[in-house]
Structure formats: structure tokens, C-alpha cells
């Protein structure tokens, strides 16, 4: 059974051409990679596309078998996510998403609210130093402290401290973002101020 096999064994099998081993690795790690990318992209379609790209990299250029695989995948995902944001792919995806939401949502108001909440989370993450944001996303994706230390190049003993700090900063940034919106409502077309 592949569930009992280590990443390293599966990687070795895949390197010998065993496609089933690759699929086992995909099933094992897809959720973590997708979570990281969703955190970065804030849009399901883009996160799914980037997750595909991440696993294509694994398919074409697998790391050495002794490499901690989940950490490797997350590192690839973080880089792809960052490049995608820089190249404006998120804006394109967002436009698409809004259009889809508007067309398909049963309740457009609820959909808009969800979309706004997601944007607040994204802005709060963007307000943090990159390492803090990455730490939050990777921890949320389920990486162990040892894996976090390896991906982020930090001492394993400092993960707890940095994580506590990142969570605090993230919540403050989120609340500030939400607060600013409450205090300064967007100008309404009718000139009425929303309660």
C-alpha cells in the first residue's frame, strides 16, 4: 500500500518511471500545496492552476529522493505564487471570479461579502513581512516545525516564537483593515452613507 511508503521510497519509484508512485505523492501532498496557494492567490481557480504547475515541476524535475518532499513542494508553490501575483495573474483571475460569482451565485450579496472577507485576509497577509505571511500559510498547510524551519531558513527552535508573533500581527492587520472599511465606507452612488 502506498500509504505506508515514505515520500523517499515513492520518489525513488517515480524516478525509475513508476507513474503510480507519482500519483500517490500527488494525492498525499495536493491539499497542502493547494492551501498554500489559495492563501497567496485568494482565488480558487488560480490556486488550482498554480498547484498543477507545482506538481508538473515535480513530475519533470523531481528533487533527490532524500529531500523532504512536502517542504520542497511548498517552496516551489510559494515561488510560483509570488511570481503569479507579480505578473498580475491574480487580477485576471479575480476579474474572472467576480464574473463567475455574479453569474452563478444564488445570493449575490452573500457572494460579495465572502469575496470581501477573502480580500481582507489577503490584504492583511500582504501587509505582513513576507516571512511572517509565508510562515502562517505554511503552518496552515500543515507543515511541521522542522519543515517550516527548513523552508523558511529559520532555526527550528524559533518557529514557535515567530509563529506567535506572526499570528498576532496578522490578526491586528486584519482587524485594522476591517476597521478602516467600517469607518470609511466607500462613497455611494446615491450619496447616502451606509449605517
Amino acid at each position: 500500500m502506498t500509504e505506508d511508503e515514505t515520500d523517499s521510497t515513492l520518489l525513488k519509484r517515480f524516478r525509475r518511471g513508476d507513474e503510480a508512485a507519482f500519483e500517490a505523492l500527488f494525492v498525499r501532498h495536493y491539499a497542502a500545496v493547494y492551501r498554500v496557494l489559495y492563501g497567496i492567490a485568494g482565488a480558487r481557480e488560480l490556486a488550482e492552476d498554480l498547484a498543477q504547475e507545482t506538481f508538473l515541476k515535480l513530475y519533470h524535475r523531481p528533487p533527490p529522493a532524500d529531500h523532504p518532499l512536502r517542504a520542497w513542494l511548498c517552496r516551489v508553490a510559494l515561488n510560483l505564487g509570488r511570481n503569479a501575483l507579480r505578473s498580475g495573474r491574480r487580477d485576471a483571475a479575480r476579474t474572472e471570479r467576480v464574473a463567475v460569482n455574479e453569474a452563478a451565485a444564488d445570493d449575490p450579496a452573500a457572494a460579495a461579502e465572502r469575496s470581501e472577507a477573502r480580500d481582507l485576509v489577503r490584504s492583511a497577509l500582504a501587509a505582513l513581512p513576507e516571512r511572517q505571511a509565508r510562515l502562517l500559510l505554511l503552518r496552515h498547510a500543515g507543515l511541521s516545525y522542522a519543515e517550516l524551519a527548513a523552508v523558511l531558513d529559520i532555526a527550528p527552535g524559533s518557529v514557535g516564537t515567530l509563529l506567535a508573533r506572526a499570528e498576532r500581527a496578522f490578526i491586528i492587520a486584519y482587524e485594522q483593515g476591517a476597521g478602516i472599511r467600517h469607518e470609511e465606507p466607500a462613497p455611494s452612488l446615491t450619496g447616502e452613507v451606509q449605517p
Partner: protein, 387 residues
């Protein structure tokens, strides 16, 4: 209450990331200490809140797997030999600091060959670009370096060529004269006498507890290129607009490598090794067009024909090495050392962060490796003190 725990430990405890013994000790402390208990509770609430905010909608793994299978299948059925290399950024004019040096009387025709061949060798040796760099430094050195980013797609294509790099040589590189092993010397003065030049040194953060110096004497290498095989490689890589001259393989190529000095220092919290030497002299067979070789190398890297022509004509191939590096590798980047281009590779080995830095100054090259310097900028700052 004495023996209170800091937030880091309390936070790690929430994730079950403490060793069992520490967990037990913490649990009994929390039972007795209301201040730590309160902070522990705050941290727990914040952790849950953060997790809730980051909540991710579920994804359909089997649908994703099916998509991936389709992607792979369509890639392999529709693969072209050489897709247009649209995404390779044109590196622009030759990088700062890499303008041709004043050429010495002894014209050095080796660099072009080195450029062309090393690109091929480096690419075939990927992903360990560092290994390629080591190989480069042990045989060839140049006066200027232009780093050309190569995108992942092209790297993959080249790696998948299944080309045996050994077949590139009619006669594999072998050493024909000189010592093979570095020799230990007692001091830098002695190293200078043995090598024939005075070695530059970094300003270390603290006086070293131990230092060790070695000198590798002048040596000569010889090899002969299999032109048919090199042409086949270009064909496989989809480069069909360049012809390698027969002359390239008509005679053995000789590399004369001047002495190299290595200095190793270990002090409190750091270790650093600085290797330096002068450019070797390599002689190409007559009738080899340097620009054409350079153009072949750039095309091999995936650059479009027009760009390759423009860049090939800007580079002084007699003194400049084109060094390919993967554009998307995050731990490898181009840096500036006192205005000269350098290549920095950083990584983590256990708890240690290590850096390797390659740069050129005049006709001298430097490779500095070290641990205990923390950030990349601290390591670059150290390199800038090398005088």
C-alpha cells in the same frame, strides 16, 4: 513564579511541537502559574482565530489529478523539439563590470571555447549548477562573466535530451603536467612565493582561531572535442541555425592553469574559505569562429536567434564567460561585489546557513564559501572587504 515559559514555547506546545519531557514539565508549570496559563490561553485564541481567517475551501483532489494527467498527456503527445523561447528575458547589454578588459598581448582565444563548452557542460550537469561552477573553476577562468538566466522550461528540455556528455570528447580531459594535489604551506607569504602572486584577504569578523593555506601548482589539461557529437547535441536541442566548424575538433585543446591559493579560516561562530587564482590560458584550434560558438551557446540556452545574434556581437568572447543559471532557482542569484558581477548560492545544511559566492576582479577570480554569517548581505559585505 520562576521558570516561566516564553511565548515561543507556549505556542509550540499548542501544536504539540515540544519534546514529550518538556510537554510534561510545561503542563505542571501551567497548573501552578496563572500568568503563563493566561498567555497560553491568549495564544490559543489567536492561533484559532488566524486558522479560521485562513480557512480554505475544499479542493477536489481527484479532479485535480485528472487535470494533471491530461496536462502531462497533452505535453508528451504535442511536444515540439524547440518551442520558441519567449520567456527568456534578454539580459540586455553586457552587465556592468564585464566590459572587456584591456587585452594583453598574449591573446587568449580560450575563453570563447570555454564559454561555449562550459554552457553545454553546465547545462548537462544541471540541476547542480554549483557542481558545474566548481568544474569551471578548476579548469577554466575568465576575465568577465555574463550571467544568462535560463528558464525552467528550457532547462527541462535540455535535461531530457538524454545526451551522454562524455561523447562530446574524442579524448576526455586529462591532466598532462603539474601537481594534482594542493600543497599545504605555513603562511600567506609562503603561499605568495609558491603561487607567484599575493593573495587578497577578507576582513574577518573576529581573529581566526585556526587558519590553513594551500597552493595548487600550475598544471596543464588537454582534451579533444568530438564535433559530430557536439553537432548532434545542438540538433537535439533544436538549434539548427548554426554550424560548428570541423576545425573545433581538429586538434587537442590545451588549458594551462596558473596556481591557485586557498585559505581556510575558522573563528568563533564562523568558517570561511577563500579560493583565488588567475585566468588559465587555453588554446583553440585554428579556424574556429568565436562569435559563432558564442551564438551557438546562447541558442542552446534557448535564446531567440535575433537576440542571440545581438548579444553575441556585444560580448567580447575572448575574455567573457557566459554562465547560465536557472531563472527560477530561489537560492541562486546574481549579486554585485564592488561593482563586479557575482553569483551567490545560499543554502541550509542542518542548522547552519551556508553561502558560496563567485566573482571576478580583473583577471583574478574568487570563490568564497562560508558558514556563520547569517544573511546574504553580511556575506556579500565580507566579500567586499577582500583586498
Amino acid at each position: 513564579m520562576t521558570g516561566c515559559y516564553d511565548d515561543g514555547v507556549l505556542r509550540a506546545a499548542l501544536d504539540g511541537a515540544l519534546p514529550p519531557a518538556e510537554h510534561t514539565a510545561l503542563a505542571s508549570h501551567l497548573a501552578a502559574c496563572s500568568a503563563c496559563r493566561a498567555r497560553h490561553e491568549d495564544l490559543r485564541i489567536r492561533a484559532e482565530r488566524a486558522a479560521a481567517l485562513l480557512d480554505t475551501p475544499a479542493s477536489d483532489i481527484s479532479a485535480a489529478l485528472a487535470t494533471l494527467r491530461r496536462g502531462i498527456a497533452s505535453e508528451s503527445s504535442g511536444r515540439r523539439v524547440l518551442p520558441p523561447a519567449r520567456r527568456i528575458p534578454f539580459p540586455g547589454p553586457v552587465l556592468p563590470g564585464s566590459k572587456p578588459m584591456s587585452l594583453k598581448r598574449s591573446w587568449r582565444p580560450w575563453a570563447a571555447w570555454a564559454a561555449g563548452m562550459m554552457i553545454i557542460v553546465a547545462l548537462l550537469a544541471l540541476p547542480p549548477v554549483r557542481a558545474a561552477a566548481d568544474q569551471l573553476l578548476s579548469v577554466f577562468r575568465v576575465q568577465n562573466v555574463v550571467f544568462v538566466p535560463v528558464n525552467a522550461e528550457r532547462m527541462e528540455q535540455l535535461k531530457r535530451l538524454n545526451f551522454d556528455e562524455q561523447s562530446l570528447f574524442l579524448a576526455a580531459p586529462q591532466q598532462t603536467s603539474g601537481a594534482t594535489e594542493p600543497r599545504s604551506v605555513a603562511s600567506l607569504d609562503e603561499a605568495a612565493v609558491a603561487a607567484g602572486f599575493t593573495s587578497a584577504q577578507p576582513a574577518l569578523p573576529a581573529p581566526p582561531a585556526t587558519s590553513r593555506y594551500t597552493v595548487t601548482e600550475r598544471s596543464t589539461f588537454e582534451f579533444q572535442v568530438n564535433v559530430a557529437s557536439a553537432r548532434e547535441l545542438l540538433r537535439l536541442a533544436g538549434v539548427d541555425d548554426v554550424t560548428l566548424p570541423d576545425a573545433l575538433g581538429a586538434a587537442p585543446i590545451v588549458a594551462d592553469v596558473p596556481p591557485v591559493i586557498a585559505a581556510e579560516y575558522a573563528g568563533s561562530g564562523y568558517e570561511v574559505t577563500l579560493v583565488q587564482g588567475l585566468s588559465p590560458e587555453v588554446t583553440l584550434p585554428d579556424g574556429v569562429d568565436l562569435n559563432q560558438l558564442g551564438f551557438a551557446a546562447l541558442r542552446m540556452l534557448g535564446m531567440e536567434s535575433r537576440q542571440a545574434t545581438a548579444l553575441a556581437s556585444q560580448i567580447d568572447w575572448r575574455t567573457t564567460l557566459v554562465f547560465p543559471f536557472p531563472a527560477d532557482i530561489s537560492n541562486l542569484r546574481q549579486v554585485s561585489i564592488g561593482g563586479a558581477p557575482g553569483l551567490l548560492v545560499s543554502g541550509q545544511g542542518g542548522a547552519e546557513r551556508h553561502h558560496h559566492l563567485y566573482w571576478q576582479r580583473g583577471d583574478r577570480f574568487f570563490v568564497m564559501s562560508g558558514t556563520g554569517f547569517g544573511s546574504e548581505s553580511a556575506f556579500i559585505a565580507l566579500a567586499e572587504t577582500v583586498r
